[in-house]
Symmetry: D2
Subunit: 328 residues, 4 copies
């Protein structure tokens, strides 16, 4: 029989993403709904080590469902990678009466949680929060949908000036290891070409595609490039390469950067956060541990944290074909 959960701790860790606040709110209110206490842990695992805690009731999370960022803040913790650090953290949780943990973050944060669980047999539940959508076990991570809208909104603006001047733009978006943002926002923004880490398009194909695009009567073009594309050049080198090989093109570069991590979450991300928060807390109450909650095939499901960490969130290769057809 699982031990009864009386007090849940919640933290956000790793890069922040829109919807984290909505998830915190959901965790806090689900606890209140089930008459469980809840504390917020500031600055991720580092705050756990420092005992930087705050009691949270349903009114502590008023008016945050629509706020970007995380009211609990996030930080990297070198100390949590040491057994001593984790020991301190555990002592603090025990002292505060916390008997289960909800970790909102990505792969690295889940790994920390899993180690913590293995050392202290402490119940841990993960909620996938990252704009990159690179976590196995969920079709959507918190913040991903919002980031897509942010990117598409920026490229729509860039398109205005690109088509006024018949220019080619290279737009770099986030995604060091995963092309989800580039691929989906690229299709959404009507990009002529999309470069992602999962697929080596090749420089020849890029040049070829740009030439065809010009020949087909397009006056302006957008190429969306993930940070970690396979083509082996950074976006500025790519500009030089294309201008050297296709002198008819006047290339401009735009690196969207950190704004992709912020902003008021989309409705989709807010609802997702609300659902995942409920599931995380209720799973802990049912005695479960070491799972990540996620949304897959339209259902809220659990995936063992270990799988979530080891698995790879593949891009949908059919989308590469859709992108290809759309740039006809």
């Amino acid at each position: 029989m699982p031990k009864t959960i009386k007090k849940v701790g919640v933290l956000t860790s790793g890069g922040d993403s829109p919807g984290m606040n909505a998830a915190i709110r959901s965790v806090v209110r689900t606890c209140a709904y089930h008459n469980i206490e809840c504390i917020g842990i500031y600055r991720g695992y580092q705050g756990m080590i420092e005992g930087d805690f705050k009691e949270m009731g349903p009114r502590s999370v008023n008016n945050i469902v629509n706020k970007g960022g995380t009211i609990l803040k996030s930080a990297r913790s070198v100390e949590f990678r040491t057994p001593e650090g984790r020991k301190k953290a555990h002592d603090n949780l025990v002292k505060a009466g916390v008997d289960a943990l909800v970790v909102i973050g990505g792969d690295g944060s889940f790994t920390g949680g899993l180690i913590f669980n293995s050392e202290f047999d402490f119940p841990v539940m993960g909620i996938p929060g990252t704009i990159d959508n690179d976590i196995y076990g969920t079709s959507f991570t918190l913040g991903y949908d919002t980031a897509l809208n942010t990117v598409v909104d920026c490229i729509d603006k860039i398109r205005d000036t690109a088509s006024s001047h018949n220019r080619l733009f290279f737009v770099e978006v986030m995604g060091r290891d995963a092309g989800h943002i580039a691929l989906n926002a690229g299709i959404g923004a009507g990009a002529e070409e999309i470069l992602i880490p999962e697929e080596d398009l090749g420089l020849d194909r890029l040049l070829d595609s740009l030439q065809k695009s010009k020949a087909s009567g397009k006056s302006s073009s957008i190429v969306v490039i993930a940070e970690g594309d396979k083509i082996g050049k950074n976006v500025f080198e790519l500009k030089d390469y294309v201008e050297a090989n296709l002198p008819e093109y006047d290339v401009r570069v735009s690196v969207l950067g950190h704004m992709q991590r912020g902003g008021s979450p989309s409705c989709f991300d807010r609802v997702l956060a609300s659902r995942l928060g409920v599931k995380a807390v209720e799973s802990l109450i049912e005695g479960k541990s070491n799972y990540m909650v996620g949304l897959r095939e339209d259902k809220v499901i659990l995936t063992p944290l270990e799988q979530a960490i080891k698995g790879k969130s593949e891009i949908d290769r059919e989308l590469l074909r859709v992108s290809d057809i759309m740039s006809t």
Copy 2:
């Protein structure tokens, strides 16, 4: 062996929704990609009757992926409900060399397509375009995600003034027969209560909930109400009723109205439109007819038009519970 498709006609019908243009673009470009001709039919079935056609190549749909509304326009057609009207329409298609049809719209539009097919054995494929998300066979209709963001954005603004004045707002959103918008946008906007056509909450429960909300220390409240809620009062009558029974509340009403149908589509709707357009045209090429393309369980699938029309797109009742917990 299916007859070879050489020319596809595409139309939008019924209430317009964001993403219809992206779907038109996808149909047109998929045709071009497969070396099939494409014509746009203006004003839905009425334009089919009047022969209001336009040849469309890949450049005809430049810069519309991000535009609300439909460049092909939409209209109701009384005449298409008569055999004579449909005969005229068919004659026009034959004259123009069109041998398959993509209908972007809702239930009513699909019914028209199905009858047309049964009379003339004319290949028809449907793409679900409506903000209401009330079509069986797809988890998301085109425009639904955008409408949710529009509603949530409006309610965020209303929340600003509601909490400055400690007021209660009743916000009416679209949904005569379906509560999808109210339920999801209500959760996304942090509504204290949500009234939908699928569920009779009852007036007592509403009063009770509002009283609890006040008692719990909330200074302002939002109630989201679908047009067709079950409670049997319109939103202004409801205001009077609540003010009569809970004099401590200062109630304001906001009816969001037609702006919910417009606006630049979200990235989700643009990608969805692109995928569904490809699938619709390629299914026609494969000789299929009388299906609706949709997205379910993360996959693009086909549903027989007849099922799509007769089936009901149920709300996810788990969301009612999530809403309940979130308003703790």
Copy 3:
């Protein structure tokens, strides 16, 4: 020689508007900059009567420059209209050591401030905060620019669906006594006709204009109507009247409502709020009282509160002509 100001009280009163928080922040930080204490007074004059005060330092107003609404809340106060109410309020201020007041609000709020000053010789400075732009002595009130953008954004969405269906929309915007919002947002949104309180266009002219618009080949039309238009019919009666007289038109109505008061302030409103807050506090320090700060002819200026209350903020009649030309 003016008495030295040591502690300023700031309140928001009347209808809230975007930019009020930015103005509060500016007042608080300008006080800190000049080593003056500052307290926030909750819920306008009512909080003054109830002694609902809070010490505010520069960090109390972190991250509010971009928030709609007012963190100090707003309320009507019947009690403040009585000498007893005002006496209590004054006692509270004296007890708290407050020796000057910044009132952010509209006409009514300024009138309260003026009476308060006349009774207790208490220094008062006004900052015009209302979306209606109906205050004499400033070309822009706080929140007006944001409201214009909100309205135009809504009408852009309505235009999408209007032109998809070749419909006529009547859009009611705020402005019971002033047509600033209707006139400017109407021009901004490309409205075919604009009805405002300052000008009786007449029903015949409206019908005439709509007929011309149809004849000129426009497929859809938007008429923007201020709440308090002179035409003497509400927006729904107007719809009936037009449909009775111009049966070729299919009219829809949209009442934008309270969302116009909310939302993140525009850059213009944030900068204006910052400038006006500095001027208000520094004018108090210089010993001035009974003025409203405002922006006129590109300069921050002072207007005696009495004038600000009695004067009328006229619409720019040239804009009526511009609107006329634009709807050619």
Copy 4:
């Protein structure tokens, strides 16, 4: 007596900006209103040389008031800098029956217009279109207000992630020679420090200010930097310098780039465009030439093109002080 204007040509030139389309629409419709013909000239002066013209009636500019970019496109023209090029351009105008020109653009475009006028005694009127607000004779150039909102919206998003991680961000905005965007958007976004071309803050002062900001309890900071700031380091060098000198800071850089030029214009820019277009055409009708229309001290005025080119649009130095106070 001035010669009667029968046909006006309109072009956009230089960097595009939001509101250019609204200005084109205004010029076209004002011509129609006064029964004057109008032609659109594509790609600025280059299109004038190539005779790339299009007749424009009031319906040619439907639904563009809210579109970013310019439907007439823009381009640089080396050829127009030669007498031969200008001769060709003049021949084309004469052949097309055009007898007056409206140039929407910046300094360089006005210089071209002035030379053209001096050589052919051809009536020219300028409308200031650039996001930089760096033109003498108007308090607001077309697109400036929109760009401010775009920048502030981006920095709000960056602020979300900055405060989640307690980071310092350097945000580079447009403005090679003018600090208007940096200064106003910086105040609007609540930047802790603002670096502009007009003022050499000095590196010591920057370090000092950042240290004070940290000491005052701010957890995150934003520094807004105009492209052409006086400090003599680019934004990445500045990051290195600050990290070397203030190791407690974790600095991130964001270069907003070309998206600042795009997007749907704000209501302010749309109304401004409408007013300036009317004034430009009606001034030509009155026989005026070689003026720029602008908005100053709340009035639409004319400034001789020569002055507009030679004069400098100074920043409001009071805003530097406001920025200073706001970052208390």
